[in-house]
Each structure stands twice: as structure tokens, then as C-alpha cells.
Amino acid sequence: MKLFILTVMNGMTLAALYFLVASGFTLVFGLMRNVNLAHGSLYLLGAYVGFNVADWTGSWFLGVAAGFLGMAVVGAILQVVIFRRMQGQDLRQTLVTIGLSIVMADLMLAVWGGNTYQFDPPSWLSGPVQLMTAPVVKYPLYRLVLLASAIVIGVGLWLLLNKTRIGMMIRAGVDDRGMLAASGVNVQRIFTITFALGAGLAGFAGVVGGTALSIAPGEDTRYLLASLVVVIVGGMGSVTGAAIGATLIGLAEQLGLVYSPTYGVVYTFLIMVVVLAFRPQGIMGKAA
């Protein structure tokens, strides 16, 4: 029983991390049809940048801010310098992001080496807390904070998309890009903002995820794949779908790891294949 509770908690908190990464990925895709396969690289780069800033300033929170802002700037630059020039060429954009991810991974290896980096979160955020008394269930406080922050950001994203002018424009753009442009909105600005937000979320996730786990080469592909599977399952372009997909994948991974460790990794992909077979556009996706 205790093991089951802990495992479900672990699944939920891992899902929180997956949601943070995948929400940015799905946002960018929804509006721009840009499958950003460098999203994982942004996650890792954000984590490294956040680590260095936290190391210099001694403040973990500044590290989190740096991870978000740094990647938001990188995302905006990518959109303005590269992707704007190939509007509507989905496949070419995707190939560019693959090229970027190859180069970024190698350059990050050059700068930060193969070492593992570990954040030092504020001490009041670390250590275990008691969840239940009978049976005694202790749980890492930090992971609870991770879960809470994912919920806050999820709600924030929902409010942004549904209650603000810019959000309305983004949603309008998701539904019909052409119409949005025709109605006199500066589409390029919306695109840049969205890309910056998506990339920033990846950087943010890099720091908070890197704190929960650790930062090392290879994490870029790992979180890219997690994002891919989450949005394929949840439905491309839907933030709610990303939340559902992340929950499914996070739970499957952790329950698999405990109750069937050998094939735990494979289950997530099985879920994906099953969803694709019955609902190709994903659980919350709109039919193509």
C-alpha cells in the first residue's frame, strides 16, 4: 500500500515535469506548426545556464529565472533569425531543429563536459515531509513543490490563453493562421512571443527538473522524447492534452519501473501506439 501511494506520487510528480517540458513544445506546434526537435536541447541548455547563474549568484531562484529568460531569448532569436524566413515550410523547419539539436548537444558537451551537475535548492525546499501517519509515508518536499509549480503554470497558461488579449490571438492563430493575419494582427510578433514562451518553459523545466534529478549529456534527447510522446498521446497543440498525456506517461513509467522494471520504459511507447491506433490525432487533438 505504502509503495503504491509513493509510486503514484512519483508518477504524478514526474508527470508534472513532463508537463512543464511538453506544454512549451505543444504551444509552439499549435500556433506555428513547428515541430521543434531542438526543444530538448533548450531544456538542457536552460538547465546549464540556470546552474551557472545559481552557482555565481548563490541563489537558486535566480537560476530558475535565468533558465526561463535565457531560453526565452534564445527562442525569440531562433524565431526571428531562422524560422521567420521559412514560414509555412514545416518539414524544413523541423529539419533545421534537428540540425540545431545535433550542434547544440555537441557544443554543450564542449562547454560543460560529460560531468553531472546537481543543483543546490534552498534548504527549506529539500528533505522529506510526512504525508501520512498510518502507514508512515514520507515524501520529498521538493517533488511536491514541483507538482505545485506545474499546476500553477498550467493554470497560468490556461488563463493566459483564455483570459488575455494575447492569448486570444494565439488561440485564433492556432485555429486559423491566415484569418488572424488578415484581421490585421501582427502575426510575427505573436509568433515570436509564443516561441519565446515555449522555449522559456523548456528552460524553466530544465532548472526545476535538473534540481529534482540531475543535469547530464543525453538529457536533451530524453526530454525531447518525453515531450514527443506526451503530445502525441495528448494531442498536438493542446495544453490540456499535454497535461493528460503527461499524467498517463508519468504514471505508466513509474508504475512500470516498480511493478515490471524490465519493460517499464517500453510501456510509455505502447500507450502511444494504442492511442495512435484508436485516436490518431491524440486524446485532445483536433482531427486533421
Partner: protein, 417 residues
Amino acid sequence: MSNVTRRNLLAASVALTVGFSVSAAMAEDTIKVGALATLQGAFTVLGEDGMRGVKLALQQHNNMAGGKKIELVTGSSDASPDSAVNAARKLVEQDKVQILVGPLSGDEGLAVKNYAKTQPQVTFINGTSAAQDTTLRDPAPNFFRFTTDGAQWQAGLGEYAFATKGYKKVVTIAEDYSFPYTQVFGFMQGFCKSGGHVVNKFWVPIGNKDFSSIVASIPDDIDAIYVALGGADAVNFLNQYEQAGGDKPMVGGSITVDQTVLGSKGKQQDYIIGTPSAGPIADNWDNAAWTKFVADYKAAFPDGFPSPSLFAQGYYVSTLAMLTALDQVKGDLSGDQKAYRDALQNLKLDTPTGPVTLDKNRNGIAYNFLTEVAKGDDGHLYNKVVKVVENVNQTLGMPEAEFMAIGPVGRDNPSCP
């Protein structure tokens, strides 16, 4: 359309013709040696330290052996066996090396051993790869390993954990592939024989970073956790274990508390102090040859690790063996290197980590070091020597038949719940 095709192909063919006409003209008084390590990918840091070992040995020999000049050619893999074979093939068939030192990791070693069988004219000397079967089963006659395997690296640890540390019941946590199987095997040989029980073995899929559910599955009624994870995963596990309030002491595999982990940043540094582990080197072994080696390493490579890793040591020992045997045969590699290989086989090599000889499968018999993590005066963590286990052979002191009867290591072999 077809115009393009033709011209491109012709252009490509011209490029090729120019390329392969370059032939390796070899002077009589030089010997070409290849060194193969992981200079790409996530193991780059380790491969570079291995190369430092090669370079240090060559420097100390003035790049000469047996009166001949040694010409070093470097090869690089990304730790995948395919890339190791490709790199070895280039060194042997294109660069025409006569002796090859490498590779670094276990599966690479198995792959290169199989390749060695197809190149009988070249002598292969292992770098640091530590899979048992590289030499134990189906060995290649021209593949020599002066280092030891992953089970030998654990010699003495099981007994020490049981008798001195007083751990009776442990669980093991290790990655789900051959090298950790070998390490767990090496630990359990001593631990189970002493009367200890390994109540559960957690095999973590490679690449898994979230250990929280494994941490949750660790039973309360155990005395210690045996962790044979490497690099990122070890740091990760320790951090999560501590976050979850874990307080059982740890016993470490050979790569768990190596320089990579000791040098990583974070809070688990305090926790790992006192962790026993075993491996082919020990940072502060109080031995003149070793301290000289460390000093030479630091002087030669100011940008290296604070203390040479087992990769620097392993490649150093292998290169040293290569050079010493060359000295003995006066650089004579004629007759399909027969005399040279005999010299290697019968070598009694004095290394910074004690004397090394070879068994009949050309696998190293060497010292193994039992250590405990301690904090140095400069604040760096290091492995303090507790005991030196001398002349550890591949069968861990068992008669060969008995040892072979245990069978190949795996997820469930051995077992003592």
C-alpha cells in the same frame, strides 16, 4: 536530372581516387601504435583521461621503445561497440598500426576482441574495458589485458562489508547491463560466502534518471545498499535517496565513487563519506610508485583530474606493458610478433598500482584496492585505502572449474536471498 547524377558521381569518384592513393610509407625504425578511447559522446571526459595515461607512459619512455621511435595514432569511439570496431578497423587497416591499445568500455572490449581475431598480425592490448568474457570465454590469442575485469575490481569488498562493516542484509541497485552484472557478481562472491544475504536486486534500465520509485521499494529491514551505478546515475540516485529521507549506508561499486562522482557538486558529498568500495586504484595509496605516478600526472596535465582516474591508470599500465615488452624484444615485431607476444605473456610488470602478471587467457593478475571515502585537508573527497588485496586473479582465487560452473553472470546469477 541525369546530368546532375553523373557529374556528382564523377566528382565523388575523383575525390575517392585521390584519397586512397595515399599510402602509409613506414620507416624501418618506427613502430606505429594506435590508441583507442572514447573521445566522443558522454564518455569523452573518461576517454580523455585514458589518453592522458597513454601520453604519460610514452613521455616517460621518450617516445622510444626497443631502440625504435613510437609513432602514436589516435582513434576515437563514442562508447558504442560499432563505433569501436570502426575506429579499430581504421587504425589497423588504414593507419597500419602494429599494436593497438584500447578500448575503454566493456561492450567495446568484447567487440574489439572479436575484431582482433580477424587481424592476427596485430597485437591488441586492452585499455580499461572490464567485461569478464573479453578474456574468460572464447578469448582471442592476440588480445592482452593487463588491467583486471569488473568482478576482480570488487575483490575483497563483500568480505569487508560483512565482517568489518557488519552488514548482513543488503539490496543491490545497478544498471541493467553486463558491466554492472559483473560488478554485482564480484561483490556477491565475497559477501554471500561470508554469510550475507542479498535480499533484492534492482536493475535500473539504462538511461533512467528517476529513481524515486526504486528508492520507495527499498525495504526497511536491510543494513546497507550496494550501489553500482556510474556517473550521472549515481549522483542522481544519491540525491533522490537523500531527498526521500533515506539513511541506510552505502557500499559502492568501482565506478560509483570514482573521480567523476567525487568531483560532482551537491549535498550528497557528505553522505558518501565512509562509503566502502573497491577498485583497481586508490587515490592516496601510501606507496612510492603510486605517489610518483600521481605527481607525474599532475605535473604533465595541470588541466586533468585532481588525481588520475582508473582510466588514466588503466591506459597507463597497458601502454607501459606495451613499451616494456618492446624493450625486451628490442623492438623486433617480426615473425608475426611471436617473440613480442611471448614477452607480453611472461611480463612481470611493475606498475604504480603494484605488480601485474598475466594468466593463461592473457588477463591481468593484479592488486585490488579496498577503500573508503574520506575528506582530504583541501576539502576534496578521496578514496582512502583500507586494504590492498594482492594478486587478484580472474577466478577470484577459486579453482577454475568451480568458477566456470557458476556460469555467465546475469540478472539472476548469482543469487543468495
